[in-house]
Symmetry: C2
Subunit: 378 residues, 2 copies
């Protein structure tokens, strides 16, 4: 049996418990039953983000969440600082420009993240209304210090908008403590669901700004979602099936405890890094994220053959590199429904696949290294 496993940084595997819940008959969303479910889901999301903010749920992908934040929460009379250290940073620059905003693009070398010090210097000019950062830049497998950036932005009038699509639920994130004004999140990552839900959590400081803006969008107007949520409802037809699955997934997450999940992701990421080093490979990022690990291919191994063999022969799906990293690196997700057993097993089949692709590999060296890392934590 070739058991299929997604180690891609979204979509991630959906637990059978969630799949079965979503297979149940659909019910109507303009009902008390839906409101009850939606209210419970909102509580679970708040707990996940460690926030007292309501979390708005949009039927859409993560990009919808980020676009809603940019469309609704960036003051039109000021500049917006957008960090760009990879494909997702690039996307937020594009979105901000689409809305005609005065964008200051802060380009980072790929594999590095924007620093709190840089943000402090920029904001000291007083010309910025918002700062947009990617907490975990999936394309480069790099994380920024969101807590430090939050502390800096909190001392100013600017808002901090964070793409937490591949960080929330995996990396430590305490929205209220860290003073992150807007957190954007998607369903197909740590939440262990299929794609289709986007989430936006908005601070009171951000609402004060949003209330002064008339956004040029109906579907992504956060004010409409806030108004409905006050009655545990949504302004437009919700993705009911996904929301049912979300309830089950959130219950599973909170049964374990979010801080335990953060610790587990960190150790799985470290195990993959140590295994890669033991096998003579390099980690791409200089500030590696614990939600996804980017590993450079050894000389002579082609991305196409590697990922095809890993997928077809061993059922394991990893992601390739993006843009100029295409063909040069592969990426392993540590988000959601994955665990030490999966990760150590993955390392073994990566060893086989590397060997089959012509690399010199001492079989067992990577798995033994990974096993030692995980043991120290277990």
């Amino acid at each position: 049996m070739i058991k299929s496993r997604l180690f891609t940084p979204g979509p991630t595997d959906v637990p059978p418990e969630v799949l079965v819940e979503m297979a149940k008959p659909i019910f109507h969303h303009r009902t008390e039953r839906f409101k009850k479910l939606f209210g419970e889901v909102n509580e679970g999301l708040k707990k996940l983000l460690m926030t007292s903010n309501d979390v708005l749920t949009i039927a859409g992908s993560g990009t919808a969440a980020m676009e809603a934040a940019i469309a609704c929460a960036v003051p039109r009379d000021k500049k917006v600082l957008v960090a760009n250290g990879g494909k997702f940073g690039e996307r937020w620059v594009k979105v901000a420009k689409t809305y005609g905003l005065d964008v200051d693009e802060a380009k980072q070398e790929w594999g590095l993240a924007i620093s709190a010090e840089f943000v402090r210097e920029k904001l000291a000019t007083g010309r910025y209304g918002a700062v947009v950062v990617v907490h975990s830049e999936t394309s480069t497998a790099t994380a920024c210090d969101l807590e430090a950036i939050g502390k800096v932005v909190a001392t100013t009038d600017a808002l901090l908008i964070a793409d937490c699509i591949t960080s929330a639920g995996t990396l430590p994130l305490r929205q209220d403590d860290w003073k992150v004004d807007i957190v954007a999140m998607g369903s197909q990552k740590a939440l262990m669901l299929p794609p289709g839900l986007a989430f936006v959590s908005v601070s009171p400081k951000a609402w004060a700004v949003i209330d002064k803006i008339t956004p040029p969008t109906l579907y992504l107007n956060l004010k409409a979602y806030r108004k409905s949520l006050a009655d545990s409802d949504v302004p437009y037809t919700p993705a009911v099936t996904l929301i049912r699955g979300l309830k089950v997934a959130l219950d599973m997450i909170h049964a374990i405890g979010i801080e335990k999940i953060w610790a587990r992701s960190a150790v799985l990421a470290k195990a993959c890094r140590e295994a890669a080093l033991a096998l003579g490979m390099k980690i791409f990022s200089k500030q590696p994220s614990n939600s996804v690990t980017g590993i450079m291919y050894p000389e002579g191994v082609t991305d196409k053959a590697f990922r095809k063999t890993l997928r077809e022969k061993y059922g394991c799906n990893v992601a390739g590199g993006q843009d100029w990293l295409e063909g040069k690196m592969f990426r392993i997700s540590h988000m959601g429904y994955t665990d030490p057993v999966d990760t150590i097993g993955l390392i073994a089949v990566i060893e086989y696949t590397l060997a089959e692709c012509g690399a010199k590999v001492e079989i067992g060296k990577g798995v033994a290294a990974a096993a030692r890392v995980i043991k120290d934590w277990a």
Copy 2:
């Protein structure tokens, strides 16, 4: 997330594809829809057992299949030879005695299996109407040479009744080539289903015997199942949900190919044996089965603490020992929905658990040994 995995020799894990199929609305069994499904399932079962016999499906557990065979197919005017080398052999002795049969119990030292030579000598007396063997004795993780025994029994008038509950779909088994008259199978092993279905495949030689016997049972009367199956039907209410799941499971199995699955089980079993030896542990059986591996605990490790930690901390369920082996060994299944990734990951968490239980373990030694075995096959 503690992902739950069953490495118990039944029940085994059910693939999500099967779970979701079984979650679909029930339909009535006295319909053309059911007959079509049941006909397809029968074809899949025949292919699995490599037989041209019809395979009778009973709503019940594996014991029901064996009891049906004993009740219906053992001539009352002759002795029945029942091999007993473990808990399941013991059970067939009990069943045969319950039906008042003239039982000759062939006791084996636990960890050894009955030999074809022994069977030949016994049958040479001409006093036996049937031989009952356990292909893979789960309690001792020991397999007999069913092919060799089949060849011996085929030269006589006696029938060979084989408990293939933990072998069919995992160990090589070619019912027609090997001349096994009756094969008994259950759903919760290699077939990757929940418990609840029992299967009996009957050769023409066995039907000739059965037709002369009036069994003292209605529910387990194989003749009634044969009569219904001629019309792709069942005599008593079938477990429709499980039969739906069975169709999906059989399609998954045949998409891979049964011989490939046999080869995979053998390599997973060998990987576990090599890992155990690398970690300084002993294999219990002298004729180890490739469907389940029995490993002796190292000095000082208690079964209760070991399996509790493995289950609660790492989500992995293995079986303990039975009878006098209780507390002395643990057993790992290689049946059904398990693969190299699971098996190598399991070895790692077994290493952690042994260490936590006080054994001296060099972390990574077992996984590296297992990884090397699987690589040689991959």
